[in-house]
């Protein structure tokens, strides 16, 4: 009488990937594809029902985060931090910035009193906010500033891995650029590793070293950013890339757009075979019956499609820059090195 079982939804199913030290790995996909769930499992907001999350700790030994209980997890919570999508709901409106950013320092008994204030002020300065702001409450800040506060909170414990869940999606384009630049600078300075979850492919293209494409709880393609954007191997990736609006009216009718018909499959009742086959323009009989396994086709390029070798898929067409944009590029300085893998 008191039991409720609605159904078992596999938001994320058999997701396997690894993140290398110092790199940015992006997870992309349409809403409901399970990218947020994956990120939250790694940060252990949710408990994965099966599988393992191997984390290389400082000492070199590898721990399976999925097996740890909340007490054993404590030291790793310091190293794996999270930046949230919504800059409004992720900061407690009733606490001043000092408490919000300093919470982890206090909870882990690292700093208190005036030392805590100094450390929070330094963190704020690092993310481009003034140190006087520690007495202010979140309502005094704009979306971009709040996101900086969220980043400062994530940085407080010298983390190794930051799960950024749609960290710039809610921001205006000019502010988004500020935050992306800040994240890149911090990565270089502190040798951070990012798991960057996003749906905006142009942002992903800009910030990532490698990209994983998810569809209905599975990773369908994983490759370096360049390889994935230039020569995708999965039809879903191709469709996603072709749907991205290109910010140049002269390219309006240049590429062939692949229209995806139908809806994202229901994860509680996924289709047989390849989950993408009902929408795939290249689907064949085999796709309906046989689930494709992830295979490494080229160096570091994984794909889960039966016909990956045969299909000739189009990548993201190169876009001609306007003179103004080139000028701006000349002003900006390259500041990020490709990390060693």
């Amino acid at each position: 009488m008191f039991r409720r079982t609605v159904g078992f939804v596999k938001a994320v199913n058999d997701v396997s990937f690894s993140i290398r030290l110092g790199e940015t790995l992006s997870l992309v996909g349409e809403s409901g594809c399970g990218k947020t769930t994956t990120g939250r499992c790694i940060a252990r907001v949710y408990n994965p029902s099966s599988g393992s999350i191997h984390y290389q700790a400082d000492e070199g030994e590898s721990v399976d985060l999925a097996q740890l209980d909340s007490r054993e997890l404590r030291p790793y919570r310091r190293q794996i931090r999270m930046i949230f999508q919504d800059p409004f709901s992720s900061l407690n409106p009733r606490l001043p910035i000092l408490q919000i950013v300093g919470e982890s320092l206090k909870a882990n008994r690292i700093a208190r009193g005036s030392e805590l204030e100094d450390r929070v002020a330094a963190l704020l300065k690092r993310v481009g906010l003034r140190h006087e702001y520690i007495r202010r409450y979140p309502h005094a800040f704009s979306g971009g500033e709040r996101q900086r506060i969220g980043i400062a909170r994530a940085l407080a414990l010298n983390p190794k891995l930051i799960v950024a869940d749609e960290a710039v999606s809610a921001l205006d384009v000019s502010v988004q650029a500020q935050i992306l630049n800040l994240m890149q600078d911090l990565q270089e300075e502190f040798n951070l590793t990012y798991l960057f979850i996003a749906h905006d492919l142009s942002v992903v293209e800009h910030i990532s070293h490698r990209v994983a494409v998810m569809y209905v709880g599975k990773i369908v393609e994983l490759a370096s950013t360049d390889a994935l954007f230039r020569s995708p191997l999965h039809p879903y990736t191709e469709a996603l890339l072709s749907a991205v609006p290109k910010p140049d009216p002269r390219l309006r009718n240049s590429g062939v757009r692949i229209r995806l018909e139908g809806e994202v499959a229901d994860p509680s009742n996924p289709p047989s075979g390849c989950y993408f086959h009902p929408r795939c323009p290249y689907a064949q009989d085999r796709c309906r019956h046989e689930e494709p396994a992830a295979r490494q086709i080229r160096h570091d390029h994984w794909v889960a499609c039966h016909f990956a070798e045969e299909l000739e898929l189009r990548g993201f067409e190169a876009i001609g820059s306007t003179p103004d944009v080139r000028q701006a590029r000349a002003r900006a300085q390259p500041s990020r090195k490709v990390p060693k893998t």
């Binding site: 900061l91 409450y137 005094a140 500020q178 300085q333 500041s335």
Partner: protein, 383 residues
């Protein structure tokens, strides 16, 4: 390292104004107060509520007589007209007074009627000396806010009842009991509601189910018969104070359910808020998360709900006492007083006995408006 694209501090334009500087460091209570202040009706209701509790606290000072004082010679006396000036040869003189009454007996029906006696004037005043009393059992005083300037004059500003007791004084003493029944009753409900609602919302699962089903069963019972049944179980031999507490416990045993649901709902929605998850990822311990992050987000809402629950308690007490199954004389509450005005005859001949009813309406309306205003201001972060 390149320069951060921060707001350049040289731009005076980015400097917040003085008003803004106050806002940016304002905590939730300041914001709630600023928002509440704009709600004029609620502000007024707040003042009325404050006044009513002031009256309850200082009933002895506000009341001209004690609750039990009676005068057999002045039964069912109507409220006199208060006059502030007296005509003298030198023109009108400030002399607040009331005219006396003469008793006329109808020779046929032997009915006693009061007629104004223009020849007698009893002066009245503020802070007059009168009956002695002990305020809160501590101070021996004989000061009364209003009353006859000379001790002993028959001045009954709102008339008298069937035993010649001052209606005004009894209503004021009734305020003490009725308003405190609401407060104590809601206090007990709050305790039960927060504990049970909190457990229900925080742990979920079987405990949640049990508590929620209990609430549903309690809420599905018709309240008046339930109260009647329970209060019938209060032994007649109990002293009035014990009856009073029994009644408040009884009211709160039924009243906690709404609060428990409110607390549970808040807990459930807060549990998945990003900032609570963030605190958990910060390594904050569960108790700290509840105390520092979740509870402060609920308190303002709970205060608003509590304010809205008090009128219900006041009405419940009034209803029970009116029906004769709640508080009983000699305890004076609004309900007990209204019981006096239960029959048609007394309403026809002595309508001033309904004055406690006006007090009930005022108190209930004031607390409802106050609660509404508080509820609107409870979340100052919503645009």
């Amino acid at each position: 390292m390149t320069e951060q694209p921060i707001q350049s501090p040289d731009d005076a334009w980015f400097e917040p104004s003085a008003a803004e500087r106050r806002v940016v460091v304002a905590n939730q209570w300041q914001l709630i107060w600023w928002k509440f202040r704009k709600h004029r009706l609620a502000m007024l209701a707040g003042l009325v509520t404050f006044f009513l509790y002031g009256v309850a606290l200082l009933a002895e000072i506000f009341a001209p007589y004690s609750a039990g004082a009676y005068s057999a010679a002045h039964t069912y006396m109507p409220p006199p007209r208060i006059q502030f000036f007296q005509d003298t040869e030198a023109g009108p003189r400030f002399y607040p007074h009331v005219k006396g009454f003469k008793v006329q007996v109808d020779p046929d029906s032997f009915k006693r009627t009061y007629v104004v006696d223009e020849t007698v004037a009893y002066p009245i005043g503020l802070f007059v000396r009168g009956e002695e009393y002990e305020l809160w059992g501590l101070f021996k005083l004989d000061l009364h806010l209003v009353g006859a300037a000379e001790y002993g004059d028959p001045v009954y500003l709102l008339g008298t009842d069937r035993l010649g007791r001052d209606v005004l004084s009894r209503t004021i003493y009734g305020t003490r009991v009725s308003m405190s029944v609401g407060l104590v009753g809601v206090g007990l409900s709050l305790l039960l509601g927060v504990i049970l609602g909190g457990i229900s919302g925080y742990y979920g699962g079987l405990i949640d189910n049990l508590i929620q089903r209990t609430i549903e069963i309690l809420r599905s019972l018709p309240t008046i018969p339930l109260w009647m049944g329970l209060s019938a179980a209060i032994p007649l031999t109990w002293p009035p104070v014990r009856v009073y507490f029994a009644i408040t416990v009884l009211l709160s045993l039924i009243g906690w359910t709404a609060l428990a649901r409110e607390v549970r709902g808040r807990f459930l929605s807060l549990k998945t808020e990003d900032f609570v998850i963030a605190a958990r990822l910060d390594g904050v311990r569960e108790l700290q998360i509840i105390l520092r992050h979740m509870a402060p987000s609920m308190t303002s809402h709970i205060i608003a709900s509590v304010t809205l629950a008090i009128p219900g308690m006041i009405l419940a007490e009034t209803a029970l006492s009116f029906l004769g199954i709640g508080l009983r004389p000699p305890v004076v509450s609004w309900g007990v007083l209204l019981q006096e005005a239960q029959n048609v005859r007394s309403i026809a001949t002595a309508p001033w006995l309904l004055f406690p009813g006006i007090a009930v309406v005022t108190a209930v309306l004031a607390m409802n408006f106050l609660g509404d205003g508080l509820r609107d201001a409870a979340d100052p972060y919503q645009a």
